[in-house]
């Protein structure tokens, strides 16, 4: 394989991986973030206790989160076909990735919001804040460093899931490592794709870490 071919293959892989990961992460946050917030505030002893809704949300989140991604991927093919126009291929992966990631995001958001000292929330209540004001002016801003850190973790997880794309004919670095590497005994290709995946993960982790540190005013 020529140098140009190598380059084409790997750059294409990076492109495909990001093309699956980024949109599905954004979609997962659009749904998972409100869901996580709703789950926290409707909990008992929080600002908007709604026991039944809270239990229902908990069940949905846990149910979706407990299905292994590779199984969910296969199960969702008919729905994916409806939503994305095709049940297979790189682009179609965005939908199952989003479905499997939003409950995970909701859990991460829940964890971050629960780190906010409840005393601060009570102080906001004592000043006459509405529920919406507490959520958007207290809960989310106070949890922001942790939320950003969580976003990096979620992105890495989704990137990892995207490596299973080859199961439904999708591309990306994971698919290259398996179909163009492992399956045809081209270990050099497998390792090259894997190293690139590791580097991508590292970049996301470092960005997440640095941003978290920069916006957190609790240190120093």
């Amino acid at each position: 394989m020529s140098q140009a071919q190598w380059l084409d293959l790997l750059v294409g892989g990076i492109n495909d991986t990001l093309f699956m990961t980024i949109p599905s992460t954004i979609l997962a946050y659009l749904v998972g973030m409100p869901l996580g917030i709703l789950f926290v505030v409707t909990g008992k002893e929080h600002i908007l206790p709604k026991p039944r809704l809270n239990t229902a949300l908990g069940v949905i989140i846990n149910f979706l989160r407990s299905i292994p991604f590779i199984i969910l991927l296969a199960m969702l093919i008919p729905v994916t076909r409806l939503v994305m126009g095709s049940g297979i291929g790189t682009r179609s992966l965005i939908f199952p990735l989003f479905i499997s990631a939003f409950p995970f995001v909701a859990r991460m958001v829940e964890g971050s919001l629960k780190e906010v000292d409840y005393g601060v929330i009570e102080a906001a209540q004592s000043m006459g804040s509405s529920t919406a004001q507490i959520i958007f002016k207290v809960l989310v801003p106070e949890a922001l460093p942790s939320l950003v850190n969580g976003a990096a973790i979620c992105t890495v997880a989704i990137l990892g899931y995207s490596a299973m794309a080859s199961a439904v004919g999708g591309g990306g670095l994971g698919a290259i490592a398996i179909t163009k590497g492992l399956n045809i005994r081209r270990m050099d290709i497998m390792y090259a794709a894997s190293v690139l995946l590791v580097i991508l993960v590292q970049i996301i982790a470092v960005i997440g870490n640095q941003s978290t540190k920069r916006i957190d005013h609790r240190k120093r």
Binding site: V120, A123, Q125, P141, P145, H217
Partner: protein
């Protein structure tokens, strides 16, 4: 002097349901807070004082009773009315509860933001408020950079932002060292005088009550044990709970002395000098101390001492006269 009652609590009860059964936190509490007063509520931990103050702005919901603020029952208000009252009944906390991701200025601005005060007007007000608490130069600092006393000052500035009528202080000095406690108490007293702000203070520290409160309510086991002006309650403590809190006096009847005795009350107002030695040397009165439990708080002597009552009436007369001259109330125990 008759004062307007600002907060009137009637028959307030609160029961917590726990797996081990019901815990009665408040049992039929009646309490009135007059406008302009600094009203202290003191009790041992578990006496229900924190629950009581948290019911006033409905951070806790009681099971029964009324809390009338300017004649309106806070417990029966809808959300809109409640939010409006909370802006008039501000609160500060033991742990300060500042927003850690906001600067001090932004913290103080919060109450103004939520009622839609323009950014420019709010920033002006924030500067004024931080000046009142002496932290105008730390506008852009973050809470993590400040000491506990400074944080409580910011919390006070924030509480004042909505121009409240009442300030509830939930153990506001309990996390602070004695020096800082003094400075926060002086600040509260200053605000009370200058702005006419009514203050309700929850504390377990007698010194806090002594230093700034005009009235005190003693809570014990979820009920009001005693209520009155601070001087009245301190000098003529009627309840067991009160005597326990002041850390003096026989706690159980068995410790009552046999025979006539005199109880000397040190309420911090007497001059610090050797009272007993002077009695013996200069007045020729032999003093037999039966028991004593005294504390020195902030350079003042608090507590009680029990001495044998002299048999000679003239001697007793001289002794009582001398003590009263020294501002030490004397009470006869088991008088003949």
């Amino acid at each position: 002097m008759s004062q307007e009652v600002l907060i009137r609590i009637k028959g307030l009860s609160k029961v917590y349901k726990t797996p081990d059964g019901d815990v009665v936190a408040l049992d039929n509490i009646d309490l009135s807070v007059a406008k302009g007063d600094i009203h202290g509520v003191i009790g041992m931990s578990g006496a229900g004082k924190s629950t009581l103050i948290r019911c006033i702005n409905r951070l806790d919901t009681p099971n029964a009773g009324q809390i009338l603020y300017r004649g309106q029952d806070i417990l029966r208000m809808d959300t809109k009315e409640l939010l409006a009252v909370r802006r008039k009944v501000a609160m500060i906390f033991q742990q300060f509860n500042l927003l850690m991701q906001r600067t001090l200025g932004e913290n103080v601005r919060y109450p103004l933001e939520i009622v839609g005060v323009s950014r420019k007007a709010a920033n002006e007000r924030v500067k004024e408020l931080l000046t009142i608490v002496g932290l105008e130069d730390r506008l852009n600092a973050y809470p993590v950079q400040l000491s506990g006393g400074q944080l409580q000052r910011v919390a006070i500035a924030r509480a004042l932002a909505s121009d409240p009528e009442v300030l509830l202080c939930d153990e506001a000095t309990s996390a602070l060292d004695p020096m800082t406690t003094q400075s926060i108490l002086s600040l509260l007293q200053d605000i009370n005088r200058r702005l006419g702000l009514t203050i309700v203070i929850i504390t377990h520290e007698m010194a806090v009550i002594r230093q700034i409160c005009s009235r005190v309510t003693i809570l014990d086991g979820g009920t009001v044990a005693e209520e009155g002006t601070v001087d009245e309650v301190f000098m003529h403590t009627k309840s067991q709970a009160g005597r326990r809190l002041f850390g003096a006096a026989p706690q159980t009847p068995e410790e009552e002395p046999e025979g006539p005795a005199l109880r000397l009350v040190f309420d911090g107002s007497s001059v610090d000098k050797p009272i007993i030695a002077t009695l013996i040397k200069e007045h020729g009165v032999m003093v037999n101390i039966l028991s004593a439990d005294m504390k020195n708080i902030g350079g003042k002597t608090y507590g009680q001492m029990l001495i044998r009552s002299p048999e000679d009436p003239a001697e007793k007369q001289a002794l009582v006269h001398y003590l009263e001259e020294q501002n030490i109330p004397v009470k006869e125990v088991n008088a003949q």
